[in-house]
């Protein structure tokens, strides 16, 4: 009940968070990674001592004009550049070892042609749109039997607004993260965003499902209750479950972040933010919005 009663405070808070996320997104922008733009990504590790970055860069300058070299800690560097000529690519080993002066191993090399990148970019956008549409349709379908006092399409629409929140927050944060730590948007990031969509709608569905059940009970029992009351009660009944599920998922994600493979660290971070945002929005955004809509509708009729 607390949340429904103080919904305006939560709306303000949510608005603020969304504003900050959007600002970060607009201000920093999302740097598209090699997966989408095409280009080459090389991770090199040195056996014993690592040469100074300036040495490696002057060696790179002889071969490649535009590139970025990033310190990835330990004894490695990460090179990012456009598509290379076969000769330049073949010379990379020598370039990194400074003609054999240092023992260097290219541990990871990914090169993506420009056509593949463009295709993937289009596919990602379509996949995002598809997931959103499919979830909207599914929710409207799942709630088709509850049309009083709020139509089932409205459940779907509000769930969608909550979903937008769940995506905007991690994307905005990732933009800032990418700006300060040099991460980029890759296919795994898109995967993370799509997974957040699928997962965070769970919570919203569970709360809505409870509202649905309580409405039915009231109707069957001939009990008249304010929609606001029903909604508040439903949140209270599903609250512990929402938190507990989030906790177990977070526990899994946090272990993945700290102990899991390096290549999935940004991925787990994005998911952690998204999962928290998802739980928050189903409790403090979706249901209060439903109440607001119902009140607006009641006033109008």
């Amino acid at each position: 009940m607390f949340i429904i009663k103080n919904r305006n405070i939560f709306f303000t808070l949510t608005g603020l968070v969304i504003f900050v996320s959007l600002a970060s997104l607009l201000f920093f922008g999302l740097p598209l990674g090699t997966d989408f733009t095409g280009g080459i990504l090389v991770e090199v590790r040195y056996d014993a001592v690592r040469p100074d970055a300036s040495l490696v860069m002057s060696s790179l300058d002889t071969r490649i004009t535009e590139y970025s070299l990033r310190d990835i800690g330990g004894n490695g560097y990460m090179l990012r550049a456009g598509n290379l000529t076969p000769e330049s690519r073949a010379a990379l080993q020598n370039v990194f070892s400074l003609d054999g002066a240092y023992g260097a191993t290219i541990v990871k090399l990914t090169e993506v042609g420009p056509t593949i990148g463009a295709e993937l970019r289009n596919k990602a956008i379509v996949a995002l749109a598809l997931v959103l549409c499919a979830i909207l349709l599914f929710i409207a379908f799942a709630f088709r039997k509850v049309s009083e006092p709020v139509s089932s399409w409205m459940y779907g629409f509000i769930a969608l607004i909550a979903l937008l929140h769940d995506v905007i927050v991690p994307v905005g944060l990732y933009a800032a993260f990418a700006h300060f730590f040099g991460a980029q948007v890759d296919t795994l990031f898109v995967t993370a965003v799509l997974t957040i969509l699928g997962f965070s709608v769970h919570d919203t569905i569970v709360v809505f499902d409870r509202i649905r059940e309580n409405l039915r009970r009231n109707r069957e029992g001939g009990k008249r209750e304010d929609f606001e009351m029903t909604a508040g009660k439903s949140i209270g009944q599903t609250f512990v479950r929402s938190i507990n599920t989030t906790v177990t998922v977070l526990v899994a994600l946090i272990t993945l972040f700290f102990f899991g493979p390096e290549s999935t660290q940004n991925f787990s971070l994005t998911l952690i933010v998204g999962v928290v945002a998802g739980t928050y929005s189903s409790i403090a955004l979706a249901t209060p919005l439903l109440v607001v809509w119902e009140k607006y509708r009641a006033r109008r009729s």
């Binding site: 990871k108 990914t110 993937l120 598809l130 997962f199 526990v251 899994a252 290549s263």
Partner: protein, 439 residues
């Protein structure tokens, strides 16, 4: 009651023997997990096939021939378990492309891999256009102007051999004879019959190697390449062609190499994260939900065993993203249990008997469990479709995880709970089924 207990015992027994199988087949090496290139180390090369010299109806067959040739080539160099597959660029590509993807486990020298495949000869046939200008030098730029595609392609080649042409000089000039296969013989006979007097071009690696004028129909399915061969170069060409020639040129458009050490590191870190994740989730469940939490932990363990066994049986190619999906699914697997237990607790609080509370808890939570999991399955399906191999690995594990965990969470914990036979309303039962903290 007795039956429920027997069923519970059977579930546990079967579960843990599958677990034993998962373990022993891994250690014994009889059926190990299939690891993707990013975990096992290796190289993936993506090529674009240039189909400009091929007629539309020949595209599918040429791609198949391309795959077979490259596969033979890769096997020749003794790469273990290579994967060679063709792929069409999707609907969302800016241009339509036919691609060839070659996965070479264990090959971590990118240049070596590229060289290995780059030596495969490309054999193309083209007809000179009837209105082509005479006397223009044939260069890569003028080829499209001068020549058009021919009905016969490199995939029709059956074999080739070195011969010495006795016709022209005292010492025979070395030539390479191409023998077409059955279909090729027919196609070539028709082509030569209909185009007497035109120039026929034989191209090797994009270079016109022989451009004879067709004098008469050739029904026996052979063509002769005569150029400035030495006996050695002709022998080498014949041998190379016998290993297989590519019907169309291919161009490298993507490479991915992961070293074995980096892959092994990812595997061990993934294992560690998985184990810690299971333990941490189990501790949380037991502390919060007490007895049901213990049962949920059993359900979780059985889920892990079932999904690992499925990975081996299907088999699923595991990638780092797949491991991430698996660990994520550990956290999500208990969701169904959490829903059920919360529901049970409510029923208990409303004064129901323990057995009824358990029954109602399962029955009432089902709608929520079903609806919330469907949305995850939708996402998994779309992700699988969206996927590059990386994302496909994630989507497959994620989707499987959602389905399998839903089944284990419901059936296993339900059976175990009933098998324990907590009945009546005594305080011990209420304590065990209750939740540790009041909010």
């Amino acid at each position: 009651m007795l039956i429920t207990r027997i069923v519970a015992a059977v579930i546990l027994l079967v579960g843990f023997s599958i677990g034993w199988w998962v373990y022993s087949s891994e250690v014994g090496g009889t059926r190990q997990f299939r690891l993707g290139l990013d975990l096992s180390g290796g190289t993936q090369l993506t090529y674009r096939a240039d189909l400009s010299s091929i007629q539309e109806s020949e595209v599918a067959d040429s791609m198949a021939a391309l795959r077979d040739t490259i596969e033979r080539r890769v096997n020749l160099f003794g790469v273990a378990e290579p994967i060679v597959q063709t792929e069409k660029s999707g609907v969302f590509a800016e241009t339509r492309e036919e691609r060839l993807i070659v996965e070479l486990p264990g090959v971590t020298e990118t240049e070596e891999a590229i060289r290995l495949l780059g030596e495969t000869p490309v054999l193309e046939f083209r007809m000179m256009k009837e209105n082509a200008e005479r006397g223009v030098e044939i260069t890569p730029e003028t080829i499209p102007l001068l020549f058009e595609s021919a009905a016969i392609t490199g995939r029709h080649l059956k074999s080739s051999q070195l011969q010495f042409d006795q016709g022209t000089a005292a010492i025979g000039e070395p030539v390479v004879v191409l023998n077409f296969n059955g279909e090729g013989k027919r196609v070539f006979a028709e082509l030569t019959r209909e185009n007497v007097g035109r120039i026929f071009g034989i191209f090797l690696d994009g270079v016109p190697i022989s451009t004879p004028v067709i004098r008469e129909a050739i029904p026996d399915g052979t063509a002769v390449i005569s150029g400035s061969f030495t006996p050695e170069s002709a022998r080498e060409l014949a041998r190379n062609l016998n290993f297989g020639a590519l019907p169309v040129p291919i161009q490298l458009i993507g490479t991915q190499t992961v070293s074995g050490t980096l892959g092994a590191e990812a595997v061990s870190r993934g294992l560690e994260a998985g184990s810690i994740g299971i333990i941490a989730v189990a501790i949380f469940m037991v502390v919060w939900y007490r007895l049901p939490g213990v049962l949920a932990t059993f359900a979780l363990l059985l889920y892990v065993i079932a999904i690992l066994a499925l990975f081996k049986l299907i088999p699923v190619t595991l990638t780092a993203a797949g491991i991430a999906a698996f660990i994520l699914s550990i956290g999500m697997a208990v969701d169904a249990n959490v829903l059920i237990f919360e529901r049970m607790k409510e029923e208990l609080e409303s004064g129901k008997e323990a057995t009824d509370a358990i029954h109602n808890g399962f029955a009432r939570a089902w709608a929520s469990i079903r609806d919330s999991n469907i949305s995850s399955i939708i996402t998994a399906v779309i992700l699988f479709w969206f996927g590059t191999s990386l994302v496909k690995g994630f989507a497959l594990v994620f989707g499987l995880g959602v389905i399998v965990s839903m089944l284990t969470a419901i059936s296993v914990s339900r059976t175990l709970l009933f098998a324990l036979g907590i009945g009546g309303g005594n305080r011990v039962a209420r304590f065990l089924l209750g939740c540790g903290f009041r909010i």
